[in-house]
Amino acid sequence: MTRAALAFRIHRFEAVALALVGGAALAFAGGLWLRLLAFNLPLSCFLSAYSGDGMDSGCAGRSDFGDYMALASDLGMYAVLALALLPSLLGLVLGVAVVGKEIERGTIGLAWSVGPSRRRWLFGVVVPVLVAAVGVSLVAGLLADRLELARDPAIDPATSLHHLGLRGVVLPAYALASFGIALAVGARLGRVLPALLLAMALTLGAALGTTAVVDAMLRSEAVAIDESRMLEVRAFASGRVFDSLVRTPEGELISWFEAEIRYGSTFWEQLDPGSPGYDPSTGLGSAYLVTPGQLYPIAEWRMAVILGALGLGGIVVAAAIVERRRPS
């Protein structure tokens, strides 16, 4: 029996429980994906949604479009969440178990007194467990991408910032990050439940922090798109909208607050075609600050790299703790 097989035997409870939970999540999302594909709706159904002609204008004769949308939006959201949470669950539970559980149960004394190298022991467990967690999370990430496309075939997920962080290579990166954090916390505390709770909080913080950093980068890369062109370039559908602005006749972009100061409190009526005061001759226009969806691959990899670095950092910290700490 190999070292990897022994590692899974030792952490059999966690492995079986997570296999059941992970299997259920993948089966649910995979089943939904196949069900949505089975509708075989024409692309025109979805394209019409972004043409401004109404959701089902291109779906003449397809009475099941409503059923499709219900499945895609309601169950689809649950499936997206299940796939997005799975990697963190895998990372947290397995990460805490590798060192924290062994210290709590006292079994670490056997490994550390028999094996001359604690680092060899640690990586002998970490590598197979991490490969399994990251592998399952990669499957979840790829399935989430497929599901994204199935939920809205008019938008290519590879060029859409929608659900950034909930699909693709970010999911295995989440598994790595949560695993590294949980490994280090488990090694430090040596108790499963407190380590699990603290690692959960730190992982949540890491996720929020990473999202904030990536969002800040995306904001700095945003461009202004006139409101009239938003549907044309599908900026609403695939981009990240950060702000709504007013374009002055001189072409300057200013906030709505500043525009109110310059042009009076009712200036917005001149911009609204439905308003009695609508006057296109003023030269005023509205625009959106949007990061184009084409930046998705870059944003996705940025997020994955930050989370991956956090995870690897956690593993390095855990290795340092294991080298120095007592077995109890």
Partner: protein, 296 residues
């Protein structure tokens, strides 16, 4: 080569000194009984040897290796048996041997397996389905399978019934003789370890109170049952189980042989612990040389 050598070895946990200025040489070969009350520093000494703890002060060598500088080398020199067998509930006995083999290059699984077979311990059974005595034997077999020159046994008898204790000691004695290793056996049960031990190391109050061969200990001490003795070799007065006090004396020429009787191992340990409690500073440095110098 000395199996264990310490110099001014001290270990502090917060405000408590578990070991204080311990100078000690345990020669290679045989079994040394490491006895002393709770908190005497027995476990601390063994954990320092296997690299589980770091000294606060002083030096330590295990089979010539300083664990603080080369922990891997020290672990390679040691087979360690903890008080509670640290076995995995998910693994069978056989899987434990494979696990040890995967961690330690040169682990002799066949050697460990043959010892367990002799004891009729089922290799296919989950380790935690075994009795406490059998689990202790599995721990010992793993330690012997390391083929390390030094075995450190941290009170492995503490949770065993008398039969299991006797069996464990028999196996340990046979293994030490057959494999030619050095064993240090920490224990509370002085009388039971006496038949298998070659040396006696009494640790108390963080200090070495006595370190002699068992023969020297038994031949070098006598007890005055009435607790009164004028001889200069008085070690200490100590209570027996009924509460009556006796005097432990070193077997000096001036001792009245008629008024005394040979001391048992337990009485010797009790005497030195009482002496250590009364005045740790003066007794703390007693070693084989000092004790026997008075005795002769």
């Amino acid at each position: 080569m000395a199996a264990i050598e310490t110099s001014g070895l001290s270990k502090r946990y917060r405000r408590t000194w578990a070991l204080s200025e311990v100078d000690l040489v345990v020669e290679a070969g045989g079994i040394t009984a490491l006895v002393g009350p709770n908190g005497a520093g027995k476990s601390t000494l063994l954990k320092l040897c296997v690299g589980f703890e770091r000294p606060t002060r002083g030096g330590l060598r295990i089979w010539g290796i300083d664990p603080t500088r080369d922990r891997a080398g020290a672990v390679r020199s040691v087979g360690y048996v903890p008080q509670d067998p640290a076995l995995y509930r998910e693994l069978t006995v056989e899987e434990h041997l494979r696990f040890a083999g995967s961690l330690r290059p040169g682990f002799d699984a066949a050697h460990a397996r043959s010892r367990l077979r002799q004891l009729q311990i089922p290799l296919a059974a989950p380790a935690t389905d075994l009795s406490g005595g059998q689990q202790a034997q599995v721990s010992l077999a793993i330690a012997l399978g390391t083929r390390a020159p030094v075995l450190l046994l941290d009170e492995p008898l503490a949770n065993l019934d008398p039969l299991a204790r006797r069996e464990f000691l028999t196996v340990l004695g046979e293994a030490v003789r057959a494999d030619g290793v050095t064993a240090v056996l920490a224990s509370h049960v002085v009388a039971e370890v006496e038949p298998v031990c070659d040396r006696l190391l009494v640790l108390g109050f963080g200090r070495v109170l006595l370190h002699v061969t068992v023969a020297e200990a038994l031949g070098g001490h006598r007890v005055a049952p009435d607790g009164t003795v004028d001889a200069p070799g008085l070690v200490a007065l100590f209570p027996d189980r009924a509460g009556a006090f006796h005097a432990l004396v070193r077997n000096a020429a001036s001792v009245d042989v008629a008024a005394t009787r040979p001391a048992t191992m337990e009485e010797i340990v009790m005497g030195y612990l009482s002496a250590g409690r009364a005045d740790p500073s003066t007794v703390g440095r007693l070693d084989a040389g000092a004790a026997l110098a008075v005795a002769s």
